[in-house]
Symmetry: C2
Subunit: 212 residues, 2 copies
């Protein structure tokens, strides 16, 4: 087990936010920042920020703080943003197309090579320059193009079936938008985007705030 894998998920989930603010600071031309200042930006405590960063190394300097550019670069490496991956999307509906068009993707090192669907009406269409192909050819496509990431934007009932195809084809990670928990072997990474759950949480806080 490598060093990073014993850092708690709680800490990991805060890293993207640090990375985002550091990127904004670079854009503003700010080259130096203290944990105190980062605390104001992110809303985490300065102490927590120092603890978090120290899981990965001592990036700061006493009396100075952190060099923005260096720290951003380091966080990028920790998050694996320097590695490029090929991806495909199954489900060329609205959400699938939105994802294929999504710019933020490239920032994370992912490139969508193709969308797949079963609906003959969309097969052959192009989103930007990304073609929608027939599901029939997905397995060979994945193998031929060295695709490592599979994205699922279908309704929940077909999600597991698609995950199985992905696994069979040798994919390493799945980005799942379907509201279901996928069953996968230990060596496959799954990251879920739970739109429902997010909405439910919004609903909960609306209720508790206004329903007395």
């Amino acid at each position: 087990m490598n060093r990073e894998s014993q850092v708690s998920v709680t800490v990991i989930r805060r890293l993207p936010k640090y990375h985002r603010y550091l990127t904004e600071l670079i854009e503003k031309g700010i080259s130096r920042i203290s944990s105190q200042e980062l605390s104001v930006l992110t809303g985490f405590t300065a102490s927590q920020i120092r603890q978090d960063l120290n899981n990965f190394g001592g990036f700061g300097q006493q009396g100075y703080g952190y060099n923005v550019e260096d720290l951003q670069k380091e966080l990028g490496k920790i998050l694996g943003l320097d590695t490029r991956y090929n991806a495909v999307v199954v489900g060329a509906g609205n959400l699938g197309q939105a994802i294929a068009n999504y710019k933020g993707f490239e920032d994370a090192g992912f490139k969508v090579l193709s969308l797949f669907d079963r609906n003959p009406r969309v097969i052959g269409l192009k989103i930007r320059d990304i073609e929608i192909r027939d599901m029939e050819h997905i397995e060979e496509f994945i193998k031929e193009h060295n695709v490592e990431i599979g994205i699922i934007t279908t309704p929940k009932d077909s999600a597991q079936q698609i995950a199985d195809i992905y696994i069979r084809s040798g994919i390493k990670g799945i980005w799942n938008f379907a509201p279901t928990d996928l069953q996968v072997p230990d060596d496959i990474v799954v990251e879920n985007v739970r739109l429902n759950e997010s909405l439910f949480i919004l609903s909960y806080f609306l209720k508790t705030k206004f329903d007395k």
Copy 2:
């Protein structure tokens, strides 16, 4: 402050998953379940499930377990799924259109009345039966139609500006897809969907799993 608002956010964020599995159990015609069985389904420990549910009341019965339908209904009430809200979307791009088409929405009690955009090329178009309108009319629309939820699916640079319009128009909650932290007064509820961050996390776990 009411009872529910002192339940920790950590607990709240688990409720949608309970609700989802209970809904599936209802569909399968299962009427009774123990915390132990729910534990197998959800991956949370039985003890944790009992603790979580007990924050809101004793829904179970010793020697029997929980009545699936009752518990699902109770969780629905806790999450506020019995309340209906009108919503609008700003940003009629791919993501905005995907959201407007999204069925899971109605399950949470939200109804999208209209999309808004600045791009003259999309104004006037209809997504299902939802019209895309000019941003110019958004404030009066919100006030006239009793809209309580504002959704943001624009790039990050305009997100705060749109939030300000929402706030000025009297909206209560914002569902934000832009990768930025919105500044809002205390009485506005914001729920963020961080697609970037989710991707970064996927990237991180891919890296730590395969990069030794």
